[in-house]
Amino acid sequence: MSERMGFFTDTSVCIGCKACEVACKTWNDVPADGMDLLGMSYDNTGSLNANTWRHVAFIEQTVEDDTRWLMSSDVCKHCTEAGCLDVCPTGALFRTEFDTVVVQADVCNGCGYCVPACPFGVIDRREDDGRAWKCTLCYDRIRDGLTPACATACPTESIQYGPLDELRERADKRLEELHAKGEKDARLYGRSPDDGVGGAGAFFLLLDEPEIYGLPENPVVTTRDLPAMWKRAGVAAVAVVAGVAASFLGKR
């Protein structure tokens, strides 16, 4: 097992150039998904999905009669406790030696279970080929010691790639800096190993509430409740046995 690798996306320096989206599509051969004007500021991508593995969000806010423009490049979180990986029945989703979460396209049978299991709404089924797709953290590149395509293309180092421990230290320092400069609402998202997904392998520095960026405030992996679910299902199965048996007691 290698060191755990990840992304730190510092949205405070994102300029919304979308080079990450383009680099990701190009390197990973991700199909186009149409040209649309969505009326969402400069965001004409919409959301992460099967054909979008980096998505730059644009938020226009009015702050003290002035416009503030937030930009953030969203990506798969590569959760420590990954719901998509837990529920995958075929083993197509697996954890790599870098502690990232990757779909094996040749194994996936398109059952679609991972899609509603992701608390962030990242992984999605591609309509024409029927399989699930998402960010691989450029598994092919990082195995060769290269930096993922999006981080390589990012001109402002908003997207940083490296060993997760180092990234976390760097993020803590950056947050202190921003707080010192008076950015009171700056916060790290997905940084803490104590959160509902055991911490994210790809975490963020945000300048406002997570929900503003389309991120859940308190994501919790659904499988945390799975032992309780199986227990209840077991008791209910016993109820079926009892009900059927009771129905056949007594006279015709």
Partner: protein, 268 residues
């Protein structure tokens, strides 16, 4: 609030009617397989054949619905590539695959009247798997980030268990009136109505479901009809009501999932 009013969690890509039909058929088949065993053991031999056939038809049709729903149906055997307790669909596949084979075998021996001993053994094994068939699908829905499904996990297994029993009773009443089927329908319908009432008190989305309201009315109608003096027509109507109730329950519970995602969004 939120990001341009977009829901965060993605809507399930599962097909309707495939997946709700899979839930209904699997439940009906599971309870029927157990019913066939109980009928055989207690000497109600006239109820064994129809119950075995219901179990076989239901489980094979539910396999068909599951395969049809896959994005890559040709790779459905990958479901049995690994066994994962963390994936209710993996556990379910490992229940459904032997169950459908065993029910098909026992039904075939019933229909042909040959190899009765093998049919009994297969039927027994299917009857043991039956209760698991009735309830694993509740975990399948609950183990997602879809609010209404996840929040329902304490009661959902009992809703599905009760509904499966009532559906099996319904299928049996269609073929002939009998005391055990009447009692199974009452017990199953009662369990379903009671656990659904608890669920609705906790999770709001289910309260506004027209399908679930219809399911309740049909369950009560089925119970009432089954209690009329034993008569062929009343029995058939009772059976049809129970089966229709089962269909409404599964579609109602299924639809509440995507509805809750949209609801969350409008609350934001």
């Amino acid at each position: 609030m939120g990001y341009y009013g977009r829901p965060i969690v993605k809507e399930p890509v599962w097909k309707v009617p495939d997946v709700p039909a899979y839930l209904f058929l699997g439940g009906m088949a599971g309870a029927s397989a157990s019913m066939a065993v109980a009928a055989q053991v207690s000497g109600h031999s006239e109820l064994v054949g129809p119950a075995r056939i219901t179990a076989a038809v239901g489980s094979l049709a539910s396999v068909g619905a599951l395969v049809h729903d896959l994005g890559r149906p040709a790779r459905f055997l990958n479901m049995l590539r690994v066994f994962k307790v963390t994936s209710p669909l993996s556990v379910g596949s490992w229940i459904l695959a032997p169950f459908s084979g065993l029910t098909a075998l026992s039904a075939a021996t019933s229909v042909t009247g040959r190899f009765g001993g093998i049919g009994t053994l297969a039927g027994m094994a299917a009857g043991i798997l039956g209760p698991a068939m009735c309830t694993y699908t509740s975990v399948l829905l609950a183990d997602t980030a879809v609010p209404a499904w996840h929040q329902a996990y304490p009661e959902l297994p009992f809703v599905f268990a009760g509904s499966a029993m009532a559906s099996a009773a319904g299928a049996s009443l269609l073929s002939r009136p009998s005391g055990p089927a009447v009692r199974l329908g009452l017990l199953g319908g009662g369990l379903e109505l009671a656990s659904e009432a608890v669920l609705e008190r906790r999770v709001e989305t289910y309260r506004s479901s027209g399908l679930l309201t219809a399911a309740k009315a049909l369950t009560v109608a089925g119970a009432g009809l089954s209690l009329l003096p034993r008569h062929r027509v009343a029995s058939v109507l009772a059976g049809a009501s129970y089966l229709a109730a089962g269909v409404c329950t599964r579609f109602g519970i299924y639809r509440a999932g995507p509805a809750s995602l949209r609801q969350e969004q409008s609350l934001r």
